[in-house]
């Protein structure tokens, strides 16, 4: 059984008026099935309001399913006594770096999670040091988070989650408020954690460039999982992605246009290197005519 398994998961946001009568029901998750193997790097794509953040909050037991069920590491999230163990297994990094840092000193913030789960003092120090090192922020341990850049703050937030030694980390649009440099830092950190520590990563984003290295991409729209597959499989369906109001990496679009104009380039080119390779290959076979 996978580390995260959802079966026919439904979540409805119910708005009530002052008397408690139901005013409107909004279905954020509509019978979602999901199965994530340990150690995978999963990317979830979707337009605003597609339900991807709602799904993320279920994995961390911040929301409970209206219908259906979700297991994290074999634990049912809707059971009260599982809430804390689930949160310990599946950590979560949020969008706004400022609003998830609790302490005024970097190392104290990283220690916050381990403190909450009752880790002995010496081990907290060890974990703090290790996790700050794993995100490359060890030299900033005594700094105030206010003086860090967005990307650095987000890495501190990641360290705070890593210090709880979760098996899985959910990144809920971690780069939405960062500049391009910060975005690269955060995505690189996520990949490193996945490769070096074997942490299962679920990356929720709407930047296409960030998902090309994922093991699997899941596309959501209006609360449903609408596409699933490797990045190559997903991005070869440019038309379908446009339907879900998603962009395709520019390089994929360029490759697609070249292919349509008659060049022999396969569908689903993801990186610049790949495209350059194809073009070089073509150039050798039929040198460009003057």
């Amino acid at each position: 059984m996978g580390i995260i398994k959802a079966k026919q998961l439904v979540h409805e946001y119910i708005r009530r008026d002052e008397e408690g009568n139901v005013e409107s029901i909004q279905t954020a998750l509509d019978h979602v099935d999901l199965d994530v193997e340990p150690g995978q790097f999963i990317a979830i794509l979707g337009h605003n309001g597609s339900g991807k953040s709602t799904l993320a909050k279920h994995i961390n037991a911040l929301l409970t399913p209206t219908e259906g069920s979700l297991w994290v590491n074999g634990m049912d999230v809707s059971e009260e006594q599982n809430v804390l163990p689930v949160r310990q297994t599946a950590g979560m990094v949020f969008q706004n770096p400022d609003n998830q840092i609790i302490a005024s000193v970097v190392e104290e913030d990283v220690g916050f999670g381990p403190e909450n789960i009752g880790v002995p003092t010496e081990e907290i120090w060890q974990r703090v040091e290790e996790s700050l090192k794993s995100v490359g922020m060890l030299e900033y341990r005594t700094h105030s988070p206010n003086k860090l850049s967005g990307g650095q703050k987000q890495r501190v937030a990641i360290a705070g989650v890593v210090a709880m030694q979760p098996k899985c980390i959910v990144f809920d649009e971690p780069t939405a408020m960062l500049d391009p440099n910060g975005r690269k830092e955060v995505i690189r950190t996520a990949h490193e954690l996945n490769q070096k520590k074997g942490v299962t990563v679920i990356l929720i984003t709407h930047y296409m460039e960030e998902v090309v290295d994922a093991d699997r991409v899941i596309v959501m729209d209006q609360g449903k999982v609408v596409m699933q597959g490797t990045p190559r499989e997903i991005f070869s369906q440019v038309g379908k992605l446009k339907e879900y109001r998603l962009d395709v990496p520019q390089i994929t679009i360029l490759a697609d246009l070249l292919r349509q104009s008659g060049l022999d380039i396969p569908v689903g080119v993801l990186t610049r290197e790949e495209l350059v390779g194809h073009i070089l290959r073509l150039a050798q076979v039929e040198p460009p005519a003057k």
């Binding site: 840092i101 909450n116 009752g118």
Partner: protein, 270 residues
């Protein structure tokens, strides 16, 4: 202007003062304040000044950092000084029109200003050398007995540390909103007091909305990291007294005794 308040801003450095237990620092600050308000005589003032500047030196915090905190209370100091100067009863030394300055008034004004300056300097040593988290840890531990009678000490301490963490963020946000509203033609400067207060509405409403949103996000982030109140929590930096803390207790009590002795035996010229 708002950025100049150094209260609650930790200055990282490696000094004995930084390493002291926050409970010692809290206690010392309290005694120091007591000493400021009961000293008498130039001798005691010398003792206090020596003590204060020695501690500042030891703390390795640059002096200009502390002075920043003073700017914020400039007006308060001015008003206090003026009130003392003109409104203290006694034999007038100088008098013109309805104003008269008495010897006591002049003395009180000077003393009050010294007191306020020393008060800010002394307390900012504490806030500059103690992280807000340590400070609240110290308060939490010192007040723990109160939790037996139902005071939610842990929750209060947590709220305080979060408030301290968010003060600079909210100040920055205020600045940003202010500029954004000014760009749209809002006017925060002119008009009488009532108008000025009214003009604040376009600043306060977005600020409150954003503060609530932040609170919501933060609560979620805390829950996601398994926070569920004070029970079963361990401490990354647990508090226990070391020899230097005991020594510091002795020094601070000794200091207060000296100040009180000066008051008793050398109370001149004041």
């Amino acid at each position: 202007m708002l950025r100049d308040i150094t209260l609650g801003q930790y200055y990282p450095a490696d000094s004995v003062i930084h390493k002291l237990d926050p409970r010692v620092k809290l206690f010392a600050t309290m005694l120091y304040i007591v000493s400021l308000f009961c000293f008498k005589g130039i001798a005691a003032l010398l003792v206090i000044s020596l003590f204060l500047f020695a501690v500042i030196r030891i703390s390795k915090v640059p002096f200009k950092f502390m002075v920043k905190g003073l700017k914020a209370i400039m007006i308060l100091m001015l008003i206090t000084a003026l009130f003392n100067l003109f409104l203290t009863p006694g034999e007038p030394v100088v008098s013109f029109w309805i104003f008269k300055i008495t010897a006591e008034g002049a003395k009180n004004a000077v003393l009050m200003v010294i007191r306020l300056v020393y008060l800010i300097l002394g307390t900012s040593i504490m806030t500059l050398t103690t992280t807000p988290n340590q400070l609240t840890d110290g308060l939490e531990k010192a007040l723990m007995p109160l939790s037996k009678i139902g005071v939610p000490v842990h929750a209060i301490a947590m709220m305080m540390s979060i408030a301290l963490r968010f003060i600079p963020i909210l100040i920055e946000e205020t600045d940003k909103i202010m500029k954004a509203q000014m760009a749209r033609g809002a006017d925060f400067e002119s008009g009488n007091l009532v108008q000025k207060v009214k003009n604040m509405i376009p600043l306060l409403v977005p600020l409150f909305v954003s503060a609530f949103r932040r609170a919501d996000d933060l609560a979620m982030a805390m829950e996601a990291r398994c926070y569920n109140g004070g029970e079963g929590r361990t401490k990354m930096k647990p508090l226990h007294y070391e020899n230097r803390d005991r020594a510091a207790y002795l020094i601070i009590v000794g200091y207060l005794v000296v100040v009180l002795l000066c008051r008793r035996f050398l109370p001149f010229p004041m």
